[in-house]
């Protein structure tokens, strides 16, 4: 590199700074202690008042918010939504600093197909879809994805560099198989729709792991197996060795977009969550922990802090596995493990040096145990963006959820910073000199891991059926942690509640 005249003087004076930056940050949004209070059956505070209300929604993630949204737009406003955290949104919450907003987990919505009726309805209401046109502002800007493979960046996540002819043939054959499955109509979002059309051959896919299925089908290409593994870790928090082949293939076969997407925002899906919440704000109670739900006569008594709600109906939209510790009579045990995740937001004082491709929205490192990073300022309209925030995702998927959760909670903040840097250093050797702050969100139970058998699991099927005015609504009932599934479950629960109340 040729020195410029401006660079000479500081160099002469020995003033060039190459040291690592002092690092700020810590763990954020920690809620393990509150969660464990429920598990440990801590004594609730004494009841100060009793409120009668036709419907209570427990949990303000996308499922709970969507239930509220549906009841509200059906003209029914006599309900409360109880949220443990200080803000509703669940996995769709966001943070903000002086540079940008940034997501704390879910960060995009695939452009919904015409089949996803409810999602389209919401998009129209939020102004994302007008007169048959998607708003370019919030469709993911170019360049969308890049993959760091064999020492360089390539466009797109599907590996193109260093493939053998056989690799290429396997990719082609794999996507041909996916197209067949898609055409069968069994792989849909929401999941429930397609299950009705399920043929025995498709149901059989739920009896083995995706890895086994790939072996049977002769898909041995390491690049292809990496892509499949990456995709299931990204969507389900578990790799191809543990995920149901049905779920794994659902990722590829359920979506065919007619528009370059996905939809995304600096704050991720918090944009959607906040949009929904703003429509039902008077009904939301935040910072309220539900400690007990009991059947009493033909009512449900919902203990929430010092308030006792007496409700005809309850929508349980919090993670379903938690219900066993709260609801009486005790519901069946939720059958799936929940995946531990780590999400870190890295505040970047400057961009790392780049050669080759420009930074994309989603940036993935081949053969990394983590999932790469998303650039929060990607949707900015500015041409000059000196500082940014990267959201780094890591689904801890290398062994059982319990083991991985211990590892997640065992490491201190420094330890995780080092792990994150060590991962990013492969693509960005100067990363440590760029980052000035690392905020880490440890999510012990981020999403269900859809293991083989999840489709026909009797406990899951039982939980899907509402009864006695209690409906479960969390996305984990589908086994897939997706916005569309959460919304569908929420709306279905809301429909049930409206029908029960309408029967009075």
């Amino acid at each position: 590199m040729k020195l410029t005249r401006r660079q000479v003087a500081p160099a002469l004076l020995g003033m060039t700074v190459k040291a690592e930056r002092p690092l700020k940050g810590g763990f954020v949004l920690e809620s393990q202690d509150r969660g464990h209070q429920i598990r440990d059956r801590a004594q609730p505070s004494p009841t100060k008042r009793t409120v009668r209300v036709p419907a209570v929604i427990v949990g303000g993630g996308i499922a709970g918010l969507s239930a509220a949204w549906w009841m509200n737009r059906s003209g029914f406003k006599d309900f409360v939504l109880l949220e443990m955290e200080s803000e509703s949104g669940g996995n769709s919450r966001a943070g903000e600093n002086e540079i940008t907003r940034y997501p704390w987990a879910a960060h995009y919505l695939p452009v919904p197909s015409p089949n996803s009726r409810y999602v389209r309805l919401l998009c129209e209401e939020l102004g994302l879809f007008r007169n048959g046109v998607w708003d370019e502002r919030w469709l993911c800007h170019s360049p969308q994805e890049r993959l760091f493979i064999h020492g360089r960046w390539q466009e797109g996540l599907e590996p193109h560099v260093g493939l053998t002819k056989d690799d290429i043939r396997q990719f082609d054959r794999f996507f041909a198989r996916v197209a067949e499955l898609r055409a069968s109509g069994a792989f849909t979002i929401p999941l429930e729709q397609g299950i009705r059309k399920l043929k025995p051959a498709h149901a059989a896919l739920d009896r083995l792991t995706l890895s086994d299925w790939m072996h049977h089908e002769g898909f041995f290409s390491p690049c292809l197996r990496w892509l499949a593994d990456y995709s299931t870790r990204d969507d389900y928090g578990t790799g191809i060795d543990a995920v149901s082949a049905f779920a794994g293939l659902h990722y590829f076969a359920a979506r065919e977009s007619e528009e370059h997407g996905p939809l995304t925002w600096p704050e991720g899906n918090a944009w959607l969550a906040r949009g929904i919440a703003s429509r039902v704000q008077p009904n939301i109670r935040t910072g309220v922990m539900v400690s007990r739900i009991e059947r009493a006569g033909n009512r449900w008594r919902v203990q929430a802090g010092d308030t006792l709600y007496e409700a005809e109906t309850v929508i349980w939209a919090a993670p379903t596995w938690l219900a066993r510790w709260v609801v009486s009579p005790q519901p069946p045990a939720y059958p799936l493990e929940s995946a531990p995740w780590l999400v870190a937001n890295l505040t970047m004082a400057r961009w790392p040096a780049e050669k080759g491709l420009e930074p994309a929205w989603d940036n993935v490192i081949y053969n990394s145990p983590a999932l790469g990073y998303v650039v929060a300022t990607h949707q900015s309209l500015r041409t000059h963006i000196p500082k940014t925030v990267w959201t780094f995702y890591w689904a801890l998927s290398q062994s059982s959820a319990l083991d991985q959760r211990r590892i997640l909670l065992g490491g201190d903040w420094r330890y995780w910073c080092d792990r994150i840097f060590a991962d990013l250093e492969r693509a960005h050797p100067d990363i440590r000199t760029c980052v000035e702050r690392v905020d880490i969100f440890r999510i012990g139970h981020a999403m269900p891991r859809p293991a083989p058998g999840f489709l026909t699991n009797p406990a899951r099927l039982a939980l899907c059926k509402p009864s006695s005015g209690l409906a479960f609504a969390n996305t984990d009932l589908s086994g897939l942690s997706l916005f569309e599934e959460a919304q569908y479950r929420g709306i279905e629960a809301a429909k049930y509640v409206l029908s029960v109340i309408g029967q009075r």
Binding site: T4, R6, V8, E358, T383
Partner: protein, 498 residues
């Protein structure tokens, strides 16, 4: 003894001339117009020598000591002259002032040398012999220096180290004078020490000067870089070759002073000539003020808003004398409002309506810039136009990047605008494309201002005709979420540029 004394005369004369030549050469390189630079520098230098000679009458005592002091000062000042001037040129705006101050200071000191030396030597020689010898060696030194300078010093040592080398010679003369005239020196050792210190300083300078020379001179001789600025946004470079000034942003040519009138007349006048009632104009990009210069030829315009990202760019073109002469000081016009902002967010928050909008962004060679050529951007642009308002977009070359050019046309159409594509030949760019766009129908015509060098009314009509090799090709539309334009542009220019 006599020979050594006259050798001193020879050397200091050479040094004196070298400093003068260095100042002249540096000024010519950096400011251009070498006749003017050399004339004024030689003039002020000789005049300053006159002042020095006159001032020598006020020195009555300690002649040798004074002479040594003067030598050391010349050595220091002259030796570091080119370094100081180079650095001043890069970091300050007061280059000219400093240049002439240095020339005058060195001139005064050099003017002191010969009179002092003659008075020191007058005891040892006859007057006629003294005058003849001193002047002979003085002129010989000048001859030596003037031959050495272009043939050996500039090509092999560069300006920075040449100056230091001759500074060392001055200091060397001072040092050996402390031995030569030690009987006349009250504090010989102190001055000897000072001489050694100056020699050490200059030697150090020679060592570090290597770095300065390598970079500064490489830039100077390779492409005659007149001015460079590295801002947080871009690297600005102005180069000169003979009378042709060229502006580069991040290494991409923005204009050549030889033919930029063709580009800027084509950019501004087809739209403006057809809208005699236009009152409010907008320029996005174009921080060089050259489009604004053309706009100011329409007295009916009441306000011009110029939005450019880089404050250093607009500051330079508002304050640097050479650049101001290029844009005829357009940025200082009371009609012009300069806004330093990112264009897309600025347009998004703007509620103003404009009769004419000139869009003069860099070519879409990356995704950041590609946003400024998207349907989303053009929809905002359309919203900012008054009824009957016109927008003109610089749209790269329909010759070298034909698909890119027609992609911009398609994108404007997709944003709901009617388009009127045209092109002009700009030698330093090649065949160049523009797109005029409006919500309304439009055809070229109207009244052009006086004094244009390229456009006439009939010529203007011809710009809208496209020969077969530039004719439309089918393209996709450039959207924020699918920036095909950046791909087209990259592919097409990669075929041209080796």
């Amino acid at each position: 003894m006599a020979f050594v004394l006259f050798l001193s005369v020879f050397l200091i004369a050479a040094c004196g001339l070298i400093y003068e030549l260095i100042a002249g050469a540096l000024a010519s390189y950096l400011l251009g117009d070498s006749v003017l630079q050399f004339s004024t520098i030689i003039g002020s230098y000789l005049f300053a020598m006159g002042i020095g000679s006159w001032l020598s009458r006020f020195i009555d005592r300690f002649l040798v000591s004074r002479f040594i002091t003067v030598e050391l000062m010349v050595g220091l000042l002259g030796g570091f002259s080119s370094t100081i001037l180079f650095l001043a040129f890069t970091w300050t705006t007061g280059f000219r002032l400093l240049l002439y101050l240095m020339v005058i200071a060195i001139g005064i000191l050099v003017g002191l040398e010969i009179p002092l030396l003659m008075r020191i030597l007058k005891e040892r020689f006859q007057f006629k012999e003294l005058v003849a010898n001193v002047l002979t060696f003085d002129y010989l030194g000048a001859l030596g220096a003037s031959l050495l300078f272009p043939l050996l010093l500039v090509p092999h040592m560069g300006l920075v180290r040449s100056a230091m080398l001759f500074g060392l010679i001055n200091a060397g003369v001072a040092l050996w004078s402390t031995f030569l005239f030690r009987d006349q020196l009250p504090r010989a050792s102190a001055q000897r020490f000072a001489s050694i210190a100056v020699i050490a300083l200059l030697t150090g300078g020679m060592f570090f000067g290597q770095t300065i020379t390598d970079t500064a001179d490489a830039a100077l001789y390779a492409d005659d870089v007149v001015l460079t600025r590295t801002t947080p946004y871009q690297r600005i470079a102005l180069t000169r070759w003979k009378e042709d000034y060229r502006l580069y942003l991040n290494g991409h040519l923005q204009f050549s002073s030889r033919d930029e009138y063709r580009y800027h007349e084509s950019l501004v006048h087809p739209a403006m000539a057809s809208r005699p009632g236009a009152r409010r104009a907008l320029v996005l990009g174009g921080g060089d003020g050259l489009a604004v210069r053309e706009l100011l030829k329409y007295p009916g315009l009441e306000s011009i808003t110029l939005v450019d990202l880089d404050p250093e760019m607009t500051r330079l073109f508002k304050s640097h004398s050479l650049l101001r002469s290029l844009n005829r000081d357009s940025l200082s016009s009371p009609k012009v409002k300069v806004v330093n902002a990112d264009a897309f967010p600025w347009l998004q928050q703007s509620r103003e309506l404009f009769d004419v909008a000139i869009i003069d962004f860099p070519d879409p060679n990356n995704y950041s810039l590609g946003k400024l050529y998207s349907t989303a951007f053009y929809r905002l642009l359309s919203r900012s136009l008054s009824e009957g308002g016109l927008a003109v977009v610089q749209s790269t070359s329909p010759m070298f990047a034909r698909r890119s050019y027609w992609c911009i046309v398609e994108t404007l159409k997709a944003a709901g605008l009617k388009t009127f594509p045209y092109h002009a030949y700009v030698p330093s760019f090649g065949e160049w494309g523009f797109v005029l766009a409006s919500r309304n129908d439009w055809s070229p015509g109207g009244q052009l201002p006086q004094g244009l060098r390229f456009l006439t009314v009939s010529q203007m009509h011809a710009l809208f005709e496209f020969p077969p090799d530039l004719a439309p090709v089918p393209t996709e539309v450039n959207r924020l979420n699918d920036q095909v334009l950046v791909r087209y542009y990259d592919q097409e220019w990669r075929e041209i540029v080796r």
